[in-house]
Symmetry: C2
Subunit: 453 residues, 2 copies
């Protein structure tokens, strides 16, 4: 029953070389999270569909992977339901679980479910895969990792400052030059209010969010098309053409939004976050961008987006503050702020800029050539000592031709080969070959340990 | 739309404390795998059902979680199929993907799919969750992690020796006393052959595998019940009552199986693996156990099982050699041998024996109390220096009551609290409180770094 094996479209296998790079990314992010006092949690891959449905809009509901109920899943379905042939309705009867779509909704569910055990403020991070039945395309996968950090149960803006420092530190460690774009949902509300179109905030922000892509004229056309008045569009122009330093922009915004309480509150928050961050010092450029929206219906305060400066790619990290994430699960008034690193895009950026450190690839340090049973036994005793000193070592499992064994060392990027032949067996030494230099020298096991440590 | 949130039965959330313990387990196993030259891979959570179905027996097929096709999954289903109301048949038309059930079948698929990129022998490890629609019960989950290491593309018994060393090293690091039970499928074949019932090998091994649980009389009754002749059962008795040292047992077996070529081959393999392992030296007890079977239809040579000596629990690690794992995917003659650590059971054993190292819980090293904006700003600058020195530090985000802030440090097990009040602000010092000792002293930031490093 030979089959040609493959994997579902949009999913990936990761080879040892790819895993080394991915682990470097995850380990770096994880160690910065930990340095800042965040604690790791994990949630199940499967959530009840009642937890997931309705949280990502109609489109999101469609993109959820649903899991067929176990056993006779038709037992609770009546004939009329079947005759109707309505997949969407039938799904509700035959599938109760789905794969998580992001880490945010499961986190909200976690907080509400465990609210009596959790001490607030709760600083958690989570690095796990998510699944979306999106149409697969270059750079878009049906299974990918998210790396999220959130602080929940506090509305202090010091949390925003901390998250910006985390972003700065992570990309410093990666060696990726970034610009952090910053905005505040309250500024967007203030703008809509000031131009007399408070109810059209979604249309306005969706339109102005595209200004980098389609230009100011097309943004204006779209605004008019959405029924925003000519006068309002005119009033909006100063916001779209803000220039100068962040301080200049904040001052201009303060003039423009002077009559909007919520707008002024947003400016105050932005000013605090920017000033405090600058005072402590970050390496990244921080740009105030009043057109930045990102998942507007979700964020209620600070909005953050990170771009790589030296590679053309979408945002590589994003986040913001939400005031009522857990409300949908019955726990109100819990404010939180979080960021999410896009591991797959960071992977691509590090590849394109060739920024992986030399030591990323974890390999065996030394391979012992296998010349036969007596030599192998002597080698295994040496290998035991090497491993006890923390040096990864292995023996080629078969006494194959020398060329094959050396080929194995080459293929696996093993930098040293140890040879125990008749001479070495007799005098208890090891002939150590440096695969990069091509040189070799006879050493005692202690000397080998010293050299490779 | 408040809902009482919960998670699917048989699944678990992991809190920060639990994650620290789990990470300790995974990190320990991973570092030993790496020390022995194994390389990590990952495969997707979802596999095509054509890859998974038929690999785990009929019962296994039922325990696979199937994923409903996206979009209008009924579009390819005709009315007759629906009218039939046969869940098993309908499933094939509406679900093409399933969640992985173990790491072995996806690994076999991986090897065949990537056979042109892989250099053999290929030593891979994989630490990922698997999913089974088993009835949840104490200690049995529907989502759990497996930690597998396999060497594929070599039939050298040195690989068995290496895997036994890995097992020994991992449990040494954990501080868990273990016994490793060893057998060889060829010995089981030899026994069936010798007692004249070669076709009944499955019934024989299933029965004798239970000897520890049900006793020799019940094993004999089951054998007769399965149609094994009285004479054969009598001939089997010496095997069931083997005693003495491993060497004694091997000698007795060699006498009993003298006329079985395959049996003698099995004894030779066992002898090699045991002698070589003893020669290099392991701390664990190794027990030859000719009744050990474990997933018989799968293993073709060495069979390994690990028991914890100080806790009543099932096997905590197992493995063995298989000669044709990839044959089902069209790649023949690839021999492999592997082991799988049971992370969940190891977690329970470490808990019961209270063996987690003190440092397992990763916490913030020092919390800065927040007395207001000026103090917070000074604290943030100190915190930046601490983090740059690798010391995890954080500030309480709000200038709440002292009691609340100290409570946060207590709840999160933070060992030091730094206080920047008026005095400290004025003279640039830090009052550092040791939460365990209850003592405090004024220090400079450099002294704090020195102390906490």
């Amino acid at each position: 029953m030979a089959q040609k094996p493959s994997i579902p479209k949009g999913t990936r296998d990761f080879s040892p070389v790819e895993m080394s790079k991915r682990n470097y990314i995850f380990d770096t992010i994880k160690s910065v999270f930990t340095l800042h006092g965040f604690h790791q949690i994990e949630t199940p891959a499967m959530e009840n569909l009642s937890t997931l449905m309705g949280k990502y809009g109609d489109e999101g509901d469609k993109l959820l992977f649903k899991i067929l109920n176990s056993g006779d899943f038709l037992s609770n379905v009546n004939d009329e339901q079947l005759a109707e042939r309505n997949s969407t309705k039938l799904m509700r009867s035959i599938a109760e679980k789905g794969l998580r779509y992001d880490l945010t909704v499961p986190f909200a569910r976690f907080v509400v479910q465990h609210q009596n055990e959790i001490k607030f403020p709760f600083k958690r991070f989570q690095i796990q895969p998510v699944w979306r039945a999106d149409r697969p395309q270059r750079g878009r996968y049906r299974e990918f990792y998210q790396c999220d950090a959130d602080v929940i149960g506090t509305d202090s803006l010091l949390n925003e400052v901390d998250l910006l420092q985390i972003i700065d530190e992570v990309f410093c460690r990666f060696g990726i030059n970034i610009a952090i774009k910053l905005n505040n949902r309250k500024v967007l509300s203030g703008i809509a209010e000031t131009i007399g179109e408070p109810d059209k905030i979604v249309d306005i922000t969706v339109a102005i969010d595209k200004i980098d892509k389609i230009g100011i004229d097309n943004v204006n056309a779209e605004l008019l098309d959405k029924g925003i008045s000519q006068k309002a569009v005119e009033q909006l122009q100063p916001v779209l053409t803000l220039s100068g330093s962040n301080e200049d922009k904040l001052n201009s915004l303060a003039t423009l939004l002077a009559n909007s309480e919520v707008g002024m509150k947003g400016i105050e928050e932005l000013r605090f976050v920017m000033n405090k961050t600058n005072e402590i010092g970050v390496k990244a450029t921080i740009d105030l961008d009043p057109s930045l929206a990102r998942g507007l219906n979700y964020y209620t305060g600070t909005i953050i987006e990170v771009k790589a400066l030296d590679v053309e790619i979408g945002s590589i990290t994003g986040g913001g503050r939400y005031d009522n994430l857990t409300g949908v699960f019955g726990l109100d008034n819990v404010s939180g702020v979080g960021i999410s690193f896009g591991a797959d895009r960071i992977y691509d950026v590090l590849n394109q800029l060739d920024l992986y450190p030399e030591a990323t690839r974890t390999t065996t340090k030394v391979l012992f050539v296998n010349f036969g049973e007596a030599e192998a036994t002597a080698s295994l005793k040496h290998i035991k000592k090497l491993r006890a000193s923390g040096i990864s070592a292995e023996i080629f499992p078969e006494s194959s031709k020398m060329r094959k064994q050396m080929g194995y060392a080459n293929d696996n990027g093993i930098p040293f080969v140890a040879i125990i032949g008749e001479t070495e067996l007799a005098n208890g030494t090891i002939m150590l070959k440096d695969m990069n230099l091509g040189t070799q020298q006879p050493l005692t096991i202690d000397e080998v340990i010293e050299k490779l440590k």
